[in-house]
Symmetry: C2
């Protein structure tokens, strides 16, 4: 039997990204689970942010942001970035996360995150008290030791060990075992 | 050392949802990894679809769609729904997935998926060859045996056993072990 839950804002699972706005001298960082790719031509990411967020002001100022994927070992730092506002806390000082320049946009990337996207705002949509920011991905970076082939761009997701966010019960998880290859296991049907 | 990958459309991990459009008499279904929540007031989901998708036509016709989360045991059916077009195949006949009426919107939900969202299109944004569909979540359903408390709305994500999609290496995975409680583990910092 199915039970009606009412209009809950949940989907399983969600990623867990650190979104950076601003410049190296005045950066902002935010833990964001409401983020995903939405297009490939051009490569585009969408994220939902409350209008009141300090990092959103910084993102609008340069028109750029970076998306940084933390490994599970950084869970305390990630949670801290979701708990406090950049208006009142020095999130980089408290967490020990360090910033390094990206290659294309003026907003820096987080050195301790082994996968990073550099993005330029392409659109912004108002949704109640939230803003959906669409960003064109203009460059991506990965730590070399994650690559399955040194000349390629495919990532060993077990080495990446990304944090996964579960809404509702509000827990961080790891990625689990492989079930099947996509665009393959359904062919017999 | 970080390596530049170019502008790749990847984020880790992604969910794996079956998005249904249309009516019970003429339904369409699509496997969608480019989907997430983007706002809570009102509860809103965003997904990216190629403009040419058959299911997008059906979604626009009623202005509604449903999001259905398949368990890992349905991996063949899910993969099949991503491999073929509804224009040429009877996806429900081939996979054995069955539709039941939702409570609010005219588009049905998938009975075999233990978590379902009913959505009404609130906005549509053009991004190159893609369309980002924003949908207000007007109702949600879960199988009763997933609920942590029969009177509540919290879901046991281990019982849900959602499929997780990994782009690039194109694999389906399960969810892994719990790492920590969110809005909690970062407090000592």
């Amino acid at each position: 039997m199915k039970k009606r839950l009412g209009p809950v804002e949940r989907l399983y699972p969600m990623p867990c990204a650190l979104v950076v706005g601003g410049l190296i001298e005045e950066p902002g960082v935010l833990a964001v689970a409401w983020i995903n790719i939405v297009a490939s031509t051009p490569p585009t990411v969408a994220l939902g942010l409350r209008e009141s967020r300090h990092t959103l002001e910084l993102i609008r100022h340069t028109g750029t942001f970076t998306v940084n994927l933390p490994p599970a070992s950084l869970v305390e730092a990630v949670d801290y970035c979701g708990l406090v506002s950049g208006r009142s806390a020095d999130k980089f000082g408290e967490t020990g996360l360090t910033l390094v320049p990206g290659s294309v946009v003026p907003t820096p990337i987080i050195a301790e995150c082994p996968f990073n996207l550099e993005c330029r705002i392409s659109d912004e949509v108002e949704v109640g008290a939230y803003r959906v920011i669409l960003g064109e991905i203009v460059e991506a970076h990965a730590d070399e030791e994650l690559l399955l082939d040194p000349d390629g761009s495919l990532i060993d997701v077990e080495k990446l060990d990304p944090l996964v966010y579960i809404p509702g019960t509000r827990e961080y998880r790891r990625l689990g075992e492989k079930v099947a290859d996509a665009f393959s296991v359904g062919k017999p049907l």
